[in-house]
C-alpha cells in the first residue's frame, strides 16, 4: 500500500531502496531525479508514486546490460570523464538515453537541448555532451 502523498522518487529510494535516482531540488529544476517513464525522461519528484501505477519505469540501475555490465552510454560517460561527484549523473544518463532512443545521431545542439533541464555543478557540460556524442558514434558503429 503506497501513501497517496508519496512522490515517485521517495518511493523508489525509500521503499524499493533504488538509491541510484537522486533527489536534488525537489521541485523539478535540477533533473537529478529523472527516470524513464514509458520510455521518456520524467522528473520523479514531480509525480506521485500512485500516478506511476500501470506504467513502465526504468531507473539508472536499469540502464546497464542484462548481464550487469555498463551500457555503451554509461561506458562513454566514463571514457570522456563526464562526471566528478556523480550526483547529476543518473539524471544526465536518463536524459541522454531518452534522446538517443528518439534520435540515434543527435547534433551537439540537440544534445545540449536534451540535457538542458539537468544541472551539473562540477564537471561542466562539455564532457557530458562529448559522452553522448561518443555513445551515438559507438552505437552507430554497432557497439553493443
Amino acid at each position: 500500500m503506497v501513501s497517496a502523498r508519496l512522490s515517485l522518487v521517495d518511493w523508489l529510494r525509500e521503499e524499493l531502496r533504488l538509491t541510484g535516482t537522486h533527489v536534488g531540488c525537489e521541485h523539478g529544476i535540477c533533473g537529478a531525479c529523472s527516470v524513464m517513464f514509458d520510455g521518456e525522461p520524467l522528473r520523479s519528484c514531480l509525480v506521485f508514486a500512485v500516478q506511476a501505477n500501470g506504467h513502465r519505469i526504468t531507473t539508472v540501475e536499469g540502464l546497464a546490460k542484462p548481464d550487469g555490465s555498463l551500457s555503451v552510454l554509461q561506458d562513454s560517460f566514463c571514457q570522456t570523464h563526464a562526471l566528478q561527484c556523480g550526483y547529476c549523473t543518473p539524471g544526465m544518463l536518463i536524459a541522454a538515453q531518452g534522446l538517443l532512443e528518439a534520435n540515434a545521431d543527435p547534433t551537439e545542439a540537440q544534445i545540449r537541448e536534451a540535457i538542458g533541464g539537468n544541472l551539473c555543478r562540477c564537471t561542466g557540460y562539455q564532457q557530458i555532451v562529448d559522452a553522448v556524442r561518443l555513445a551515438a558514434t559507438r552505437l552507430s558503429e554497432g557497439a553493443k
Binding site: T59, E61, A64, L70, F77, L83
Partner: protein, 92 residues
Amino acid sequence: MTMAEHPAPGGFRYIGTKRRTKEDPRFVAGRGRYAADIALPGMKHVALVASPYPSARIVSIRAEAAFALPGVRYVLTVIWYALCGLIGWKLG
C-alpha cells in the same frame, strides 16, 4: 580512444596519459553511496526548525506539540544539549 593512442610525452606510465577514473563505473551504474543513500538499523532522521522570526529573543521553547507527533523520538534544543553535556549522556 585508447591509452595506446595517447603515448606519454615524457615516457611516464601515468602522467600525461589518458586514464579512466576508478570510481566512475559505480556512479554511472547508480551504485554511488551518498549519505542520503545509507540506511542503518534504527536510524533516525532529523528535521531542523529555524526561528520564524528574523530578529527576536528566545524566551522559551515549547516542544509539547512536536513530541505529540507520531514517531518523534527527541526534540533537541540548546537547553537539552547543555544538560547532556553536564551529565555526559549520549543519544541512544
